[in-house]
Amino acid sequence: MIPIMMQSEQLTDAYIQMSFIRAFEHRLNELFLQGLIAGTTHLCVGQEACAVGVCQALKAEDCLFSNHRGHGHLLARGADPGRVMAEIFGSPRGYAGGRGGSQHMAIGDLNFMGTHGITAGTIPLAVGCALHKKLRREPGVAVVFFGDGAIGEGIFHESLNMAAIWKVPVLFVCENNQYAMSTAFRKISPVAHVVDRASAYNMEAHRVDGNDVEAVHELVAEIRGGIAEQPHAVLLELDTYRVSGHSRGDPCVYRSREEEAHWLALDPLARCRRRLEEEVAWDDAREAALREEIGSRLKAAEAFAREESY
């Protein structure tokens, strides 16, 4: 198979999207801390390369399912930031009319079938989506994002098992950010990696550095091509780190500052920027221009989100 290489325009685009997602999440955090948004939120700071690398490698006919930590997936798929933020604000302009909030959004036009507040709850939905595609001979692949915490649920096993025996076109994307809320992965898994479980289902599996957007994109493009050619199920594990706390008000007492520093050095944005400096001579001037553009896009999104309320 010819390796699928990321083009420099795609790399630039990935960097722009990742930067926007991070700024979006940081701004949301500020708004929450100011008490301007009700409820809770789960930020994906540090995991932007997973969302962007996967979504960029998918096609329009592919159907996506996400989880409680879904802002990055939605934005990477092309969601309107104003409407995502409006949903989080509980506005009638949001993707679920304010009924869903941070954890529940769906965008039919983008084949984004839903984020969800029940851990592992969307894994079987993706299998059902893939089963429908197979039965009705519809094109595309079902893709579901979940965290390392989701593998503790029995339905993870049931879903992967049925996906494997029925050979439905589904890609299971586990973003292993090392913690299920406060509980370290090593405490909940007797095997070192999520992909180690794939052998029980005789399932194709891959593990890759989830903080390397190029590596994620290229691997997913290859996997997606393979599934489209011959429907089957694939388990993909992306090693990453949740820089932000689990949700609003998490003091992160369960992990060390050394560990945080280790992962900070592997920051997906900084790495992508270094690659851009090599590839397209990205410099401080372009970075400043991007910051400005992101700032004004965010301002517009926030204005849209806050203009109308119930």
Binding site: G114, L125, L131
Partner: protein, 325 residues
């Protein structure tokens, strides 16, 4: 009209759905070559193929949610849960997914699916193969629950549930599968949420569904000989509840009781009693009575099992009490 057993009527309705609706498929445990634990899908896998009649591993949570995922895409799955007791494993797919997507995201995200669940006691299957969860499930917003009592209703409600394009729990009482009844030559969809008055009477209203309907009718016959004239309502669907039929009957009779196979506390009868308190309080000449499953695990021993549920004798005795009140 012709005479069919309830399982034959269900089988015919399912075959009609598979023939007419390409988006429909059956999914569940042992429904293929085996034909289902209660033989309601026998021969289907040969007739419709393994893509339309999908055998699963023993994974109720998984295949209920998988069905919901397929429904989201435009399929219309009909899930068979071998015994309703096993539906406890799959509540997440019903409560957090199937009824929620449409509610949160709008009608284009509806998850049309039917979950068929053989339920009820009377066959000595014991504590984990005899339960009825309609009482539990009525508490889930927007969930439709059908409980047919006879072959004709089973077929028409199944087609009606299909036409509804919403998640529906379809409860089939195991003790009714072999019971025969007249069924129209051509099966047509029945109204969901509409009760039927299966016996007219003036002294007392008995509200029942499923296997309790024949019990109510037999008790009513016995009581008629004593000069007590009972009206019997067959709910057909316990949710939506046909409150109008219940209220107008109580307004006429002034006395009533409910029969069910789910536990009395928080059960269907409790809901009916509340509706009557709210809308027909002034018409009551005696307190409304609830008869249902005893507050205990359902025993395997046939005699102990029978004692858990309303019988012709207990229904008749309660009716006499109410009339004498």
């Amino acid at each position: 009209m012709r005479e069919l057993s309830m399982s034959a009527a269900i089988r015919e309705a399912l075959a009609q759905i598979l023939q007419e609706r390409p988006e429909a498929f059956l999914i569940g445990e042992d429904i293929g070559v085996y034909g289902g634990a209660f033989k309601t899908t026998s021969g289907f896998v040969d007739q419709f193929g393994s893509d339309r009649v999908i055998d699963t591993p023993i994974s109720e949570a998984g295949f209920v949610s998988i069905a919901a995922g397929a429904a989201l895409m435009g399929s219309h799955p009909i899930v068979e849960i071998m015994f309703m007791d096993f539906l406890a494993l799959a509540f997440d797919g019903i409560i957090n997914v199937a009824v929620k997507w449409r509610e949160i995201y709008g009608p284009e995200y509806a998850m049309p699916m039917i979950v068929r669940a053989p339920a009820g006691a009377g066959r000595s299957y014991g504590p984990t193969h005899s339960q009825s969860f309609e009482g539990l499930l009525q508490n889930v917003p927007r969930l439709t629950i059908c409980c047919p009592s006879n072959p004709a209703d089973a077929a028409s409600l199944l087609l009606g549930a299909m036409a509804l394009r919403e998640p529906v729990i379809f409860i089939e009482h195991k003790a009714l599968y072999a019971r025969k009844g007249m069924v129209p030559e051509i099966l047509t969809p029945g109204a969901i949420g509409r009760a039927g008055i299966v016996r007219r009477g003036t002294d007392l209203t008995i509200v029942a569904y499923g296997r309790q309907v024949p019990i109510a009718l037999q008790a009513a016959e016995q009581l008629a000989a004593e000069g007590i004239d009972c009206e019997v309502i067959d709910l057909r669907t316990v949710k939506p509840l046909d409150t109008e039929a219940i209220i107008s009957s109580i307004q006429r009779t002034g006395r009533g009781m409910s029969l069910e196979e789910s536990p009395i506390i928080g059960g269907i009868g409790s809901e009916i009693a509340a509706v009557i308190m709210e809308h027909a309080f002034d018409y009551l000449e005696a307190p409304f009575a609830r008869l249902g499953a005893a507050e205990q695990a359902i025993p395997c021993n046939p005699k102990l099992e029978e004692q858990c549920f309303p019988t012709i004798a207990t229904v008749a005795a309660k009716a006499r009490d109410l009339v004498a009140y």
